[in-house]
């Protein structure tokens, strides 16, 4: 292993001291002089025409400074994905319970709430549809009859089918003919919340020259800026977005949320306006994930070679296509070589809150289905589930589902590490009351790419200032600083990470999809190399030696053969101010990096209480190929947090949706059951480092993958323990007990024919 000075070592996060002392400022912590408080009026109907909105009483209430409705915005639609299907605030029609209809700005929160109560909305109900399988059938009413008029309609099939993605290879029919065993199943996953602890918040202010100044809780300040510009019909240059400290987003805060409400109210009143979500609104206003139904059909030979796969996935997207059903094709194969496949993924409108993104949207759902299915097939074949996976595992040179050639990767190493740590194959000992089982699962992701920029300036004392536009949601500022320090031969404390906004930092993509350390990190490394080359040029000129003779490390540039002949970075920084080239700035800009897969192999040991159906995870092991651990402590933290989110998804978390109205029935943290410290086993992490070709110092992505595997690993462990297969998430005690008692009349068991109705017309 190369000899690194800064990376590969545990470092205290650059934001740690602010966070343990309460000094870190989140959007809700912004208090500006004269600030008004904003509250929202939301729809109480799942699908209705708005007959009238009477705001007069609210406007007359003392302390109310402005009231806005959808008609106060330019007549424009925007979209979170390819399809522009959404208005920023309802106009004439509402499509789900909770959709914003009006907003109030008042001197204080209590007055704003009183005003909200005074706004009278008259509705006229129209046909609605809540069940996505009904919505996709011909018998359903349409959520958006004008779907064809939406910009970006290209991928829609019509009706409530707002998008269809596909991938095909080989001859699927022949593949099934060549198979000895064909397994056909359906899986169902639940609506789920990202569960961020910080409810969304925003403060909007207007500068004297009319520019908007937005303090947001966002992963994507440049996305907020451009979407805000489009819904307010403003020039991008007239909006400044400052991404404040982020209290968890996990995908929910990637795009424009409700920043347009305080923004317009601030423009109307000329005063700063603050909007902070209640916890209830965190469930009912921000796109969560909705249910997914997944049909899988796989053919295998007797000796365990997968020949063909057909997959059809139906993603309920709610009232708007907040996030696409890409995972249905991108993750329809799992980590396996499958020569013939036909994958279809459908996004279906229903009258519910629209979906948002959550930690690689849909991949955890797909992985639950495919990795449970993999186990089912192995058992049908009488093969060990681990060996069956190994036999079909992707390797370098294979073609990924997206057509890319699989480069060098650590799939085999992660699987081998898991096998060794867990001692597979292994049979655990049960008691009559408590059955114990073990299950495994493999998740796959890619290192995220997209526009990335960085600049590094050398200060007069030899420290450097690092400027990037990316938001730190995962400890990435620390990793980026380490990358800069390593490339320049500095200590971490010699790198200053700038607090930034969209005015000062150049454009960068959002912090999502596990892209920051891989792509942004590459940009930082390139910018550091650029700065270094300028430092070497300047030093070569002053020392009268060729550039090739010089080395930059330990805070100075020196002649390799004669180290005492040197200049420290402070000297060079000061000299640069009057040099021909001027102050030293290294920059880098890139749009995408090559495909670098990430694999995570996980194993769970569980105890199933046979009398209650209660499942307890007693051990959880994961091995992930992270390419290069920049900050191992940070990597472990990401892996552990991701795995625990996956365990919550597996066992307890579910947004309960009213079957008639589509309303969220449990919008509180007392009823939406996220894991607690008392519930969790210690997570054992194994960091595999097979360097990627293009990531900084070989790093790959970290954060998405650990959340994929737990539901299938736990479902497979339950099967190992009690011999029942639960195909619906969450794997609640009720569901597991029903399965143990032989009652497989699961409310969500979906007939394969019903899913076939989703076939393109």
């Amino acid at each position: 292993m190369a000899d690194f000075q800064t990376i590969g070592q545990n470092h205290i996060r650059v934001d740690a001291l602010d966070k343990v002392t309460g000094k870190a400022i989140y959007a809700g912590d912004v208090y500006l002089p004269g600030m008004l408080m904003c509250k929202l009026v939301v729809s109480t109907h799942s699908h209705a025409r708005i007959v009238s909105i009477d705001t007069s009483a609210a406007e007359e209430l003392p302390g109310v400074r402005a009231v806005i409705t959808g008609k106060d915005y330019p007549d424009a639609r925007f979209g979170s994905g390819a399809l522009k299907d959404r208005r920023v605030m309802a106009v004439d029609e509402v499509f789900y319970i909770g959709e914003p209809i009006a907003a109030v700005a008042a001197d204080d929160e209590i007055t704003a709430l009183e005003a909200v109560e005074l706004i009278k909305v008259q509705y006229q109900g129209i046909d609605k549809v809540v069940d996505p399988l009904e919505a996709i059938s011909t018998r359903s009413s349409d959520v958006h009859p004008d779907l064809e008029d939406f910009e970006g309609y290209g991928f829609a099939l019509g009706g409530n089918n707002c998008t269809m993605l596909d991938a095909d290879r080989g001859d699927v029919d022949q593949g099934f003919k060549d198979s000895d065993i064909i397994v056909e199943e359906t899986y169902h996953t639940q609506p789920i919340s990202q569960g961020f602890l910080e409810p969304m918040a925003c403060v909007a202010d207007v500068e004297a020259n009319g520019r908007l100044d937005i303090y947001a809780s966002t992963q994507g300040p440049y996305q907020v800026r451009s979407q805000l510009a489009s819904v307010l019909d403003m020039a991008i240059g007239n909006i400044k977005v400052t991404a404040m400290e982020m209290g968890g987003g996990f995908g929910a805060k990637l795009r424009l949320a409700f920043e347009a409400f305080p923004a317009l109210l601030a423009m109307k009143t000329g005063r700063p306006v603050k909007l902070v979500n209640t916890r209830e609104e965190a469930f009912t206003l921000n796109g969560p994930r909705l249910e997914t139904n997944i049909y899988l059909k796989t053919g295998v030979t007797k000796d365990g070679k997968i020949m063909a796969r057909e997959a059809r996935s139906i993603f309920d997207v709610g009232a708007y296509l907040g996030a696409g059903p890409n995972a249905g094709v991108g993750h329809g194969l799992g980590a396996y070589k499958i020569p013939n496949f036909k994958l279809r993924s459908y996004g279906v409108y229903t009258n519910k809150i629209y979906v948002g993104s959550y930690r690689a949207s849909g991949v955890a759902d797909m992985t639950f289905a495919t990795e449970s299915h993999t186990d089912v097939i192995a058992h049908k074949l009488g093969m060990d589930p681990f060996e069956f996976r190994l036999k079909n595992a992707l390797s370098e040179g294979d073609t990924a589902v997206n057509g890319s050639t699989i480069p060098e990767n650590g799939l085999m190493e992660t699987m081998a590490a898991l096998k060794e740590r867990m001692g597979l194959p292994k049979k655990l000992t049960s008691t009559p009351k408590e059955a114990r089982g073990i299950g495994i699962s493999v998740g796959e992701w890619r290192s995220g790419s997209g526009p990335s920029t960085a600049s590094i300036s050398v200060n007069e004392d030899g420290t450097v200032s690092l400027l990037t536009g990316s938001v730190d949601i995962s400890g990435s500022d620390t990793s980026l600083a380490q990358i800069a320090a390593e490339a320049l031969g500095l200590r971490l404390d010699q790198v200053v990470v700038a607090k930034r906004n969209t005015d000062m930092a150049p454009f960068t993509g959002p912090s999502g999809g596990s892209r920051i350390v891989y792509s942004q990190g590459r940009a930082v490394q390139n910018a550091a190399e650029d700065a270094k080359s300028k430092l070497l040029d300047l030093a070569a000129d002053r020392l009268g030696v060729p550039v090739e003779a010089l080395e930059c490390s330990g805070g100075s540039v020196y002649v390799q053969d004669n180290p005492p002949q040197s200049m420290d970075l402070g000297q060079l920084g000061r000299m640069s101010l009057s040099s021909r080239g001027g102050p030293i700035i290294g920059t880098s800009s890139l749009s995408s990096l090559p495909y670098a897969p990430v694999f995570n192999a996980q194993g769970a040991e569980v105890i199933v209480d046979k009398e209650t159906g209660q499942v307890r995870v007693t051990r959880f092991v994961q091995a992930q190929d992270i390419g290069r651990a920049i900050n191992p402590m940070g990597v472990e933290g990401q892996l552990e947090g991701g795995a625990v989110q996956g365990i919550g998804r597996a066992l307890s978390e579910e947004i309960l949706i009213h079957k008639e109205t589509g309303e969220v029935r449990n919008p509180s943290l007392a009823t939406y059951l996220m894991p607690l410290s008392v519930d969790m086993p210690e997570i054992e992490n194994i960091l595999i480092e097979i360097p990627s070709a293009d990531g900084p110092f070989g790093a790959r992505a970290v954060a998405e993958s650990p959340g994929f595997g737990p539901p299938a690993a736990i479902a497979n462990a339950i099967y190992d323990a009690v011999g029942v297969r639960v195909k619906t998430l969450p794997l609640s005690a009720e569901r597991v007990l029903a399965a143990i008692q032989g009652n497989d009349d699961d409310e969500y068991t979906v007939d394969a024919d019903e899913l076939r109705a989703a076939e393109e017309p």
């Binding site: 740690a16 602010d18 910080e198 940070g634």
Partner: protein, 159 residues
């Protein structure tokens, strides 16, 4: 009708004029602009707003401000002495006990409250003491580890 109240916050006597239904949390944040204490749910479910009231950890969103009249409150801003961090703060920073940081003030105060309670600081007891604090980022492993480190550091310091 707003009424005057006084609370000693981090050793300093503070006064505020607030409605009788105001929570201690809203008083700290909106009236005193002490924003280190976080609002995650305002319903007592998440623990992000935990402060010490007369030495005991409470969800400040569930405490009426006037019921804390004449009381002593410790918030996250009051734990460090100058630049010297409380052992729990130090351990959380050094052992990765935080990520996004939103739940961190509440967790640290729950931990401090527990350590000052005199209960035996076993891992099991610590897990239960933090059972009312949700964290979505860490998966809790490094949170528990951080508290254990603080326990050891405190034992060492006090011999």
């Amino acid at each position: 009708m707003k009424k005057q109240l006084q609370i000693t916050v981090n050793g300093e006597l503070r006064q505020a004029l607030v409605e009788p239904f105001y929570s201690l949390l809203d008083t700290l944040r909106d009236e005193m602009h002490m924003t280190g204490t976080k609002k995650g749910c305002d319903e007592g479910d998440c623990g992000a707003c935990t402060v010490l009231l007369n030495g005991k950890p409470v969800c400040s969103c569930l405490v009426l401000a006037h019921s804390a009249h004449d009381g002593e409150v410790t918030t996250i801003e009051g734990l460090a002495v100058g630049q010297d961090l409380h052992p729990v703060q130090k351990a959380f920073a050094e052992y990765g006990g935080l990520q996004c940081g939103y739940c961190t003030p509440g967790i640290i105060l729950s931990a401090v409250g527990f350590l000052e309670s005199g209960e035996e600081p076993t891992e099991e007891n610590i897990k239960h003491a933090l059972g009312g604090n949700l964290c979505r980022c860490t998966g809790y492993s490094k949170v528990i580890e951080s508290v254990m480190v603080a326990v050891k550091a405190t034992e060492k310091a006090t011999g």
